[in-house]
């Protein structure tokens, strides 16, 4: 399990470095998704199964899809078509694919390996939920208020039309 931890950490660092050095935003997003998945594996090894699942679902799923939507909205026109033609090149996605394949191999290894020596005691979702809704209840309410503010703010900023001659 320790080997899994170190390989995942290395993948997270490597994918983040590659993300920072990309020129195309979509390539960078692919590497960022790989980095988040690697950190999810780290969470699982550390015994935080609920956090690992939420990392995959919300971070690598919802937030990254939001980013990809915006990038796709912005890259319109002929340059986007040229980019797309270049994206079909196999050398563009081989990097994220290799890193993701290593993560999948690690996942299979975790499931096949039953020994849980030398890792922290896992904290299950039941414990987290019990603590979340008793001492941290006010935090949950505040988080809901924050998300509501985020929704209203995004709607307000995205809806207003830019007037002609405004710049």
């Amino acid at each position: 399990m320790q080997v899994v931890f170190y390989i995942s950490g290395a993948i997270a660092i490597l994918a983040t470095i590659l993300m920072l050095t990309r020129l195309n935003a979509v390539h960078a997003l692919l590497y960022l998704v790989v980095s988040l998945l690697a950190i999810a594996v780290v969470f699982y090894v550390l015994g935080a199964a609920l956090a690992a699942a939420l990392e995959v679902i919300i971070y690598a799923g919802a937030i990254m899809v939001l980013f990809i939507f915006v990038v796709m909205l912005l890259n319109l026109g002929e340059t986007a078509a040229n980019e797309e033609r270049r994206l079909l090149n196999a050398s563009m996605w081989v990097g994220p694919s290799i890193l993701s394949a290593v993560l999948i191999a690690e996942f299979v290894y975790i499931l096949s390996e039953e020994s849980h020596a030398n890792i922290p005691a896992p904290v299950g979702p039941k414990q987290v939920a019990a603590a979340l809704y008793a001492p941290y209840l006010i935090g949950v309410e505040l988080a809901s208020m924050l998300l509501l503010a985020g929704i209203v703010g995004a709607y307000h900023l995205g809806f207003r039309k830019v007037r002609k001659g405004d710049s």
């Binding site: 956090a51 998300l147 307000h156 900023l157």
Partner: protein, 98 residues
């Protein structure tokens, strides 16, 4: 492994900081901020695993919801920026109309 987890969180946070400072594309700056928030969440998870307490995961949940709200507002700002300046360079907005 606990110590190395903190080292990993530190490295990721430093990489995110470097990304915010180096890149001038607003999308990349937002992604680097995501990396930094994620590194902070990783530090909380590692600390929670050190004492086998659920508090670390709960703080991670709060960071997660905060990141979701931040990203929605940030991306709406990016769209406004692009409609205004027709490019994503942060240096294009260095002048204010005061």
């Amino acid at each position: 492994m606990i110590r190395d987890g903190f080292i990993l969180a530190g490295i990721l946070f430093a990489l995110g900081t470097a990304g915010v400072l180096v890149r001038r594309n607003i999308i990349f700056m937002l992604m680097s901020i995501e990396v930094m928030l994620n590194a902070a969440g990783l530090a909380f998870i590692v600390a929670g695993a050190r004492w086998s307490q659920p508090d670390g995961q709960i703080l991670f949940l709060f960071i997660l919801s905060m990141a979701a709200a931040e990203v929605s507002v940030g991306l709406a700002l990016v769209l406004r920026f692009y409609h205004q300046y027709k490019l994503l360079d942060a240096d294009a907005a260095n002048k204010m109309r005061g």
